[in-house]
């Protein structure tokens, strides 16, 4: 039995040792907000935070997350009130929406480390693929989140 702390809750699952965190989340725990896109850590649709670090859960063993804090899209807020979610709505980022859980989690991680990223830093850190081409909206939403987080901090 593997014990995982996800979005503040302790959850116990019975999975093979090699099971990626993505499939533990999706198939065992029914947390389907985290998406499968490539299986080789190339697209970022499966991004979640483990102890605050963005990881690509399709290529991260569930066992490696034991004893750590896992945050998925479902755990960001109860009511879409997280500043990054709010910015994503304000900038109307999602089109099909499939990659957006991963984009949002990657942005949350980026903003934790760098509360006011430059365009160049966004370019370097945001390596997720969006097939709808929402990249410029993602960039605007990150800047908007940064402003809001600064106002909250002030």
């Amino acid at each position: 039995m593997l014990e995982l702390k996800i979005n503040g809750d302790l959850r116990r699952i019975d999975v093979d040792e090699d099971t990626p965190l993505l499939w533990a989340l999706r198939d065992e725990l029914k947390l389907t907000g985290t998406k499968f896109g490539c299986g080789i850590a190339a697209c970022g649709a499966c991004t979640v935070l483990v102890d605050g670090e963005a990881v690509r859960s399709c290529s991260y063993p569930a066992t490696a997350a034991a004893g750590k804090e896992i945050l998925t899209i479902e755990g960001l807020s109860e009511d879409n009130s997280h500043p990054v979610q709010q910015a994503w709505i304000a900038e109307s980022v999602p089109q099909c929406g499939y990659c957006q859980s991963g984009q949002i989690m990657a942005a949350v991680s980026l903003l934790k480390k760098n509360p006011n990223p430059t365009d160049q830093q966004i370019d370097e850190q945001m390596t997720n693929i969006c097939r709808c081409g929402t990249y410029n909206a993602v960039r605007r939403a990150i800047h908007r989140s940064a402003r809001q987080l600064q106002e909250q901090g002030a």
């Binding site: 299986g39 479902e74 089109q95 499939y98 370019d123 945001m126 390596t127 081409g133």
Partner: protein, 716 residues
């Protein structure tokens, strides 16, 4: 079209509507053909709109939502005409139902940038009916005359100022008959139409709750993953079933057409099972073929294949008498994969009594027919629920994944199963954007104007597989769209012909279809003609342009992009193309940061999509179309080895990422004189030629074959 108040009908209550709710349904006049297809009433008449006792409006939207904004746009139309409070509408994709058949297709399906174009009038009429019925119900409730009342923001308001909320009059409206005639709103009365209202699907798409096909869950649901023959049409040769069955969680190994499925308790278990199964394959129509052979076969057809006229006007020889120069050009584009963000998947539960399907599909009617055909169940016993689509791009118009899910469910004893493909399976078993070769001879007179236009397009036919009845005399109109009679330029003595190239590689609809390559061919050829005649590419286009609306878009894009006045080190290219009822012009600005490096600095885009519902959705679709086309132009290339696709994942099939994305400015023209145009696809066609035209301006190097990566250029 007929609208019915079905609030009190029995079958309707069975669909789960709460007692006392108001509901309208919509049906087509009964033709013998339709009546035959619709044995049960529920098949014939489908719910469109319900207002529950809290006054919440539930809308069933007759289009799949794959990012293109059909769901929010159509919801916006209904909400506006019925005078709903925007906060109190809930929109869902409609289930299977004859009444949801797209009037432009005659079947329930989403594609061809048709959703708003097809549903604009019917949905406005439905909304207006609701508004009128609410006014009548409200007047009854207040004991006043309907003619002294109006509807505004979920309330019926009497001239005295007193008013009632829609929630209070739902039960009265439920007893009313549908008005015989309704007046649609005037343009100045629209409160949502024409405005950048927030998409109704936004909230669910920022918290992980939006349900895509891959997220479907049912009690006792098993998950299957598949592997089919790498060479198209090959057969399963051997497998180690025993080894697969030993893997924890694996329940079944099932043969499917051209391959095998492993069914397990979850995706990871199924993938492990598939690895242990280690299937091998033999044969296949494409077996043994590689890029070089595919190229030889295409050229053979371009040289000697049977050419059929796509558009002929005037006479080439006569035109050539006036020519002072002649340009011979050959352009080419490769096969491309769709690579929808969400890999192919579908869920099916098929018993002897019913088939239930949940799928991210663009093609409801064909999917139902497939399920009916395999299961032997009549279509009315097939239920189909459309989830959100993690992009569609035309790939989800196909039924292969539906077929697999239905078959596997039947083979495992009628249990529910979700089929989920790996990314590799998805990339290697696509219906590819066909490769295409276009040869031109363009003759110009003294002033540089075309006097003879000869063009031969050689490419596989999509329609001969999907809708063979639409290919007449060997001509697939989709293969020549944008280059034949519908070309945007005045081309006297035009002779455009098509060679249907037979290939074992499956081809399908890929966002903007034939326009995706013909715009590249035409807009490159026109650019070459401009340069050959010593003209500015923009001025030249304005002289030769035939399509009035595209001319205006072109004029505006030149102005917005400051055409001809780029700063030092920035080079501009221009292209314009009409498709799917819309008119799009783009200017691309590039710089050359290093040897063979190309940076797209800015794209300026002007779109005339006629009357629009939501300008922000159109902007985003143009921007998305530009990046989709830029990805293809820069990197897109599907290659073959021994009849199989070499690429398997995003490491070998590159997508544009954040760092390569240019500044994009999109201007949506105000043109209310015209009806709505499409917007999901028209942003794609101009980007490739605008880019290569800019590259020519920068380097003098004319790229005639895509992608840029194959020509040694790196996008940075």
């Amino acid at each position: 079209m007929k609208i019915e108040n079905i609030s009190r009908r029995d079958f309707f209550r069975k669909t789960g509507v709460t007692a006392g709710a108001f509901a309208l349904a919509f049906s087509f006049p009964a033709t013998p053909k339709r009546a035959l297809a619709a044995q049960g009433e529920s098949d014939f008449i489908a719910t469109w709109l319900q207002i529950d006792e809290e006054g919440l409006v539930h809308l069933w939207i007759p289009a799949s939502e794959m990012g293109q904004g059909s769901l929010p746009s159509l919801a916006q139309i209904l909400a506006d005409e019925m005078e709903a409070d925007y906060e109190r509408i809930r929109a869902l994709t409609a289930p299977k139902g004859d009444a949801y058949k797209n009037p432009m297709f005659g079947m329930q399906a989403t594609g061809g940038s048709t959703s708003v174009r097809a549903w604009w009038n019917p949905l406005r009429e439905i909304g207006a009916n609701v508004r009128m019925m609410m006014i009548e119900a409200g007047a009854q409730k207040m004991g006043v005359r309907p003619s002294d009342c109006r509807a505004y923001n979920h309330r019926v308001v009497h001239s005295s100022g007193k008013s009632v909320d829609y929630a209070e009059i739902v039960s009265i409206a439920a007893g009313l008959s549908v008005p015989e005639k309704v007046a649609l709103k005037e343009r100045h009365e629209h409160r949502y139409i024409g405005k950048a209202m927030p998409r109704v699907d936004l909230p669910a798409k920022v918290n992980g709750s939006a349900q895509f096909g891959i997220d479907v869950d049912l009690p006792e649901l098993l998950v299957a993953t598949v592997m089919t023959s790498p060479a198209f049409g090959g057969e399963l040769e051997s497998m180690d079933q025993e080894a697969a069955m030993k893997v924890r969680g694996v329940k079944h190994v099932v043969e499917i057409p051209n391959g095998v499925a492993v069914v397990a308790t979850g995706y990871w278990q199924a993938q492990k099972g598939l690895r242990a199964l280690n299937p091998s394959f033999q044969g296949g129509a494409s077996k043994g073929m590689d890029d070089a052979q595919i190229e030889v076969a295409l050229r053979k057809d371009a040289d000697n294949g049977k050419a059929v006229p796509a558009h002929v006007s005037g006479d080439l020889a006569t035109g050539r008498q006036k020519a002072v120069q002649s340009l011979e050009m050959e352009y080419q584009v490769p096969y491309l994969a769709h690579s929808t963000m969400e890999p192919m998947n579908a869920t099916a539960w098929v018993t002897k009594e019913f088939a239930k399907i949940w799928a991210p599909t663009q093609a409801q009617t064909p999917s139902v027919m497939i399920a009916s055909g395999i299961s032997g169940l009549p279509p009315e016993k097939v239920e189909l629920n459309t989830t959100f689509l993690g992009t569609g791009l035309g790939r989800r118009f196909e039924g292969d994944f539906i077929q697999q899910a239905v078959l596997i469910s039947m083979k495992i004893g009628g249990k529910p199963v979700k089929v989920v493909w790996s990314r590799e399976e998805d990339m290697r078993h696509d219906f590819y954007r066909p490769q295409a070769l276009s040869r031109f001879r363009v003759d110009l007179d003294q002033s540089g104007m075309p006097v003879a236009w000869e063009n031969r397009i050689t490419t596989p036919s999509i329609f001969s597989r999907v809708f063979p009845g639409m290919v007449k005399g060997g001509l697939d109109r989709a293969a020549v769209e944008g280059a034949a009679k519908d070309a945007d330029y005045e081309l006297p003595n035009q002779h455009t012909e098509y060679v249907l190239h037979e290939s074992p590689i499956p081809v399908g609809f890929w966002r903007s279809v034939g326009h995706s390559f013909n715009a590249f061919f035409m807009e490159s050829a026109i650019d070459e003609a401009a340069h050959a005649s010593g003209s500015d590419p923009y001025d030249y286009r304005m002289r030769v342009m035939k399509t009035p609306r595209l001319r205006k878009a072109l004029e505006m894009v030149a102005e917005k992009a400051n055409w001809g006045s780029a700063p030092t080190g920035i080079f501009q290219g221009i292209a314009a193309h009409s498709s799917f009822g819309s008119f799009v012009a783009q200017v691309v600005e590039v710089s050359l940061p290093g040897e063979n490096q190309i940076k797209v600095e800015r794209v300026v885009c002007v779109a005339d999509c006629g009357t629009y519902v939501n300008p922000q959705i159109i902007q985003m679709q143009m921007e998305g179309g530009i990046l989709f086309g830029l990805t293809a132009a820069a990197f897109g290339d599907i290659n073959f080895e021994d009849g199989a696709v070499k690429q398997g994942n995003f490491d070998s099939y590159r997508m544009v990422k954040q760092k390569e994305v240019p500044t994009i400015e999109v201007y949506v023209m105000d043109n209310y004189e015209e009806g709505p145009g499409g917007f999901g696809e028209p942003g794609v066609p101009p980007i490739a030629p605008a880019l290569t035209n800019a590259l020519f301006a920068a380097t003098g190097n004319r790229v005639r074959s895509l992608p840029l990566s194959k020509q040694g250029f790196e996008l940075v």
